[in-house]
Subunit: 148 residues, 2 copies
Amino acid sequence: MNRLASLVLATACAALSVPTSAQFAKTDDAVMYRESAMFIMNQHLGRLGAMANGRVPYDATAAVANAEVVAAMAKLPWQAFGTGTEGGKAKPEVWKEQAKFKENQDKLQAETVKLVAAAKAGTVEALKAQFGTTAGVCKACHDAFRKD
Amino acid sequence: MNRLASLVLATACAALSVPTSAQFAKTDDAVMYRESAMFIMNQHLGRLGAMANGRVPYDATAAVANAEVVAAMAKLPWQAFGTGTEGGKAKPEVWKEQAKFKENQDKLQAETVKLVAAAKAGTVEALKAQFGTTAGVCKACHDAFRKD
């Protein structure tokens, strides 16, 4: 292997081995990032829940807009649970049971994509059913991986 | 006007007069919502800045992903500056100079859409130019409307 190829490979490997947490300047930033994304997601889920449960009138346009924010937020927090970012509301299980945690992330992302589809269906019944499923996924993950 | 029409009109007016802040259960939620969205936006802008300024290697795919989060976040905070939500890092000017504040919001949203396009252009030069413009819009608004 010539020197250039060797350097390219070394650089590529170094890039691959950078932990996700390196995207954050400090652990507090990672904690704040994931809690910020969860907070925004929860606010918009709450608005969908209020519609689904009849506390506010059903509004198809607002339902789609809220569901789209939920689905966008559902992609974000996971990059902020890298090695060395223990703390905040996260239980140590996040780092001890990584396969199970990843399974929960994937499930949330899949169900929030379905939530957008359900909102686009344009009926409160469709929204209600998928809201219930999504909220169940949130709860199961919080029970296993979030303190309090 | 018959009673039904009257009721429909009254309901529509009530809906129109609900302040944006009513989407939040309490002022603290509105403050946390807008600061959460700004924090996430800032993290991703920081990653773009690191690429634009050569502190980390340019990565076209990552640039697009980061710019898309920035653009998505740039839509969110404004709903959380409703009447009665004064506090946090926001200066009173937010509520006193609403037209100017709205102008800044619109500018940020327009420039972050251009940031996604610049990232998609696939060169560090394109990214760098639009990153600079976007960061300038952030700074001008913070100088006028954010404490410290």
